[in-house]
């Protein structure tokens, strides 16, 4: 029979008792999909050793696990990243391929308008194109918390739903709160 009501944190935090109560109190109803360890490793590589410029994450085909879709290093142009998001696809249960949402982390770098140098902001983007199907949109929206919690050190988070939302300038404005040159 199905194991209902078994909260993921019961399994994950069996080692530490204090942790259980803490996570459970904080947990939200939609914190569900598990995050593959490679996501966390890659994120740390981006954060600490600047190995990547960006990471795009997706849900595995059975929607149970968040895995890496694509990574890119700083030699790549921003447009490559944007194209990758816009061309992302997902397979529906009946096997049809349509537009797909994604999660992404991008290490934004911008110049301050005041001339005080450059700043870096690790930005989390929840990409959910308006023309994607209801089903994938729903699944991605409700699973986002799991990934966000697993990645520590995100400076800004934004939600993007169409091509304009992920223009470099649009994001720069949001991320820098208007202080960029």
């Amino acid at each position: 029979m199905v194991a209902y009501g078994r909260h993921p944190c019961h399994r994950r935090n069996q080692a530490s008792k204090t942790n259980i109560t803490l996570t459970c109190r904080l947990s939200k109803p939609f914190y569900r999909a598990t995050v593959n360890q490679e996501c966390i490793t890659a994120f740390n590589d981006l954060k600490l050793s600047k190995k990547y410029k960006y990471i795009i994450f997706k849900l595995s085909d059975d929607n149970k696990e968040i895995v890496i879709d694509k990574t890119g290093d700083s030699s790549e142009d921003y447009e490559v990243f944007r194209e990758a998001l816009m061309n992302a696809t997902t397979k529906s249960r009946s096997g049809q391929v349509g537009k797909g949402p994604r999660y992404a982390v991008y290490d934004f770098e911008y110049q301050l308008a005041s001339g005080e140098g450059t700043r870096n902001k690790i930005t989390f983007i929840a990409w959910s194109p308006d023309d994607a199907g209801v089903m994938p949109k729903m699944i991605y929206a409700s699973s986002k918390e799991a990934l966000k919690r697993a990645l520590t050190g995100i400076a800004t988070e934004l939600q993007a739903n169409d091509a304009d939302d992920i223009e470099f300038e649009t994001i720069k404005k949001t991320v820098s709160k208007g202080t960029a040159a």
């Binding site: 209902y4 249960r93 409700s142 939600q159 739903n161």
Partner: protein, 474 residues
């Protein structure tokens, strides 16, 4: 939902159930209709009016659910099991109607009819408690409850009361024997179905218009704003408008008309009305009138798209334009020009609303009740840093938002209110996605294998009692 057979190598484990094979049910009760269906489908299989049918006999009553066999009778009433707050009021009736859609219509037929009125289990405080759907009640075997294999997800208004929430889980667990249960607030489901976990949800339904901010999948309690300026209020405006127009337009529902002759526009109707040798109950007539008003809303009423308010020069402009003709069931027909905009204008501008019929204060639009006012109040209730993000992620849902021009006007009003901010409105193009937004969200959520870890299980309910619903379903 297609039941795909599992390949033999992938057997479900007891640890976690990842497949979609669980036949969960989703129930979305509203003031106008109650929606129910199987999780994973893209629309509800059952859509029945929440105004159910009730026949009063000398020795009891009988319920009629759905739209079949509805004709006027002396003792036939159409009460609603919900109140104007879109919260269940009559739990006896609610249970019977829900059993009708969830068990009778959505569960496979059984040799022993699994109709067991949940209310018989606890104190017979109602004289109608024993009467079921007019069929013989056979005692069923203990331990074989009707929903023993179907987890149930029920939607609720964000202002639902603790008592009501506990009652819902009690019925699902004890009367129906559901293995798992979940309650979900409608704005969260509507936001998720639009692919957003942070959004300002504008939901204009039948009894309530509400604006609720959702942040990271949680309803922000201080942002909840609502008013009765919704579909059923609009019906009242149309009645006022018909009543005050010259000549006065009589509201004659279709069932009263025996035959009619075509007449010229604006001429009195030439129709023979049916004679009933009994008094048609008021609630029955009101429900049938509502059908006519709905048709008028769908085909004639339009929201002034802006710019600016409708009153003033815009009204004069519309007067010079061609209107729309509407024919009443009794044959009376007229062209509606400025009036068709004016009836919906009270949603945006309280000074433009028609006074309610009867002249009382009840039903009059107050200053803070218009849709722009609700949005403003809702945004003022949340952290200032969040506002820009919310205005950029507005999700519009509810059947009354399907009024022509609604989204254009909403955009116009918001641009005027928040000139510096980027405003983006997300409204599903398919009318069924707008009407059943919350149901569809619930359907997807309940069909996800991973979501099943979140449900409140029967065991948890037995250990903690009904109070668990307050702790878990935030």
């Amino acid at each position: 939902m297609a039941q795909q057979p599992l390949p033999s190598s992938v057997q479900p484990t007891t640890d976690m159930y990842g497949g979609d094979e669980v036949s969960a049910l989703v129930l979305d009760p509203g003031y106008s209709t109650t929606r129910a269906g199987y999780a994973g489908e893209d629309r509800p299989k059952q859509v029945v009016p929440s105004f159910y049918g009730k026949i009063n006999y000398d020795n009891g009553t009988r319920d009629i659910f759905g739209d079949e066999v509805i004709y006027p009778r002396a003792n036939f009433e159409r009460p609603n099991y919900m109140n104007r707050d879109s919260v269940v009021e009559d739990w006896d009736a609610a249970t019977r109607l829900w059993e009708h859609v969830l068990i009778k219509r959505l569960q496979p037929a059984r040799a022993t009819p699994a109709i067991r009125n949940g209310l018989n289990d606890r104190g017979k405080n109602d004289e109608n408690g024993d009467v079921d759907m007019g069929e013989g009640i056979e005692e069923q075997e203990e331990g074989e409850k009707p929903l023993a294999e179907s987890p149930l997800l029920v939607t609720e208004a964000p202002w639902n009361t603790t008592k009501n929430r506990e009652k819902a889980i009690e019925i699902a667990m004890e009367s129906w024997g559901a293995p798992a249960f979940w309650l979900n607030k409608t704005p969260v489901l509507a936001a998720f179905a639009a692919g957003k976990s942070t959004a300002l949800v504008v939901d204009v339904g039948c009894a309530n218009a509400s604006v609720v901010a959702v942040h990271d999948g949680m309803v922000l309690k201080r942002s909840i704003q609502r008013s009765p300026v919704a579909g059923s209020w609009l019906s009242g405006q149309i009645r006022s408008m018909w009543d005050s127009s010259d000549p006065k337009v009589e509201v004659v529902p279709t069932f009263m008309v025996e035959n009619k002759k075509p007449v010229e526009a604006g001429q009195p109707a030439e129709a023979r009305l049916k004679k009933f040798d009994f008094v048609v109950p008021e609630s029955f007539r009101a429900f049938e009138e509502e059908r006519l008003l709905t048709e008028f809303k769908e085909s004639v009423v339009e929201v002034w798209r802006g710019p600016g308010k409708f009153q003033g020069p815009n009204e004069d402009f519309v007067k010079s334009q061609v209107g729309r003709v509407f024919e009443m069931p009794d044959g009376y027909n007229q062209m509606w020009r400025e009036q068709r905009f004016k009836v919906a204008e009270g949603m945006w501008d309280e000074t433009a609303a028609y006074p309610p019929l009867g002249g009382g204060e009840e039903g009059r639009v107050q200053k803070g009740q218009t849709i722009p006012a609700l949005i403003k109040a809702s945004l003022e209730g949340v952290d200032a840093d969040l506002r820009a993000n919310l205005v950029g992620n507005i999700v519009v849902t509810g059947a009354s938002t399907l009024l022509n021009g609604f989204n254009d006007r909403l955009h116009m009003e918001l641009t005027a209110m928040y000139p510096g901010l980027r405003i983006k409105i997300h409204a599903a193009g398919l009318s069924s996605e707008r009407r059943f937004g919350a149901w569809i969200g619930g359907s997807i959520l309940a069909s996800l294998g991973t979501f099943h870890q979140m449900w409140i299980s029967k065991k948890e309910y037995e250990e903690n009692g009904a109070g668990i619903v307050e702790k878990r379903c935030k």
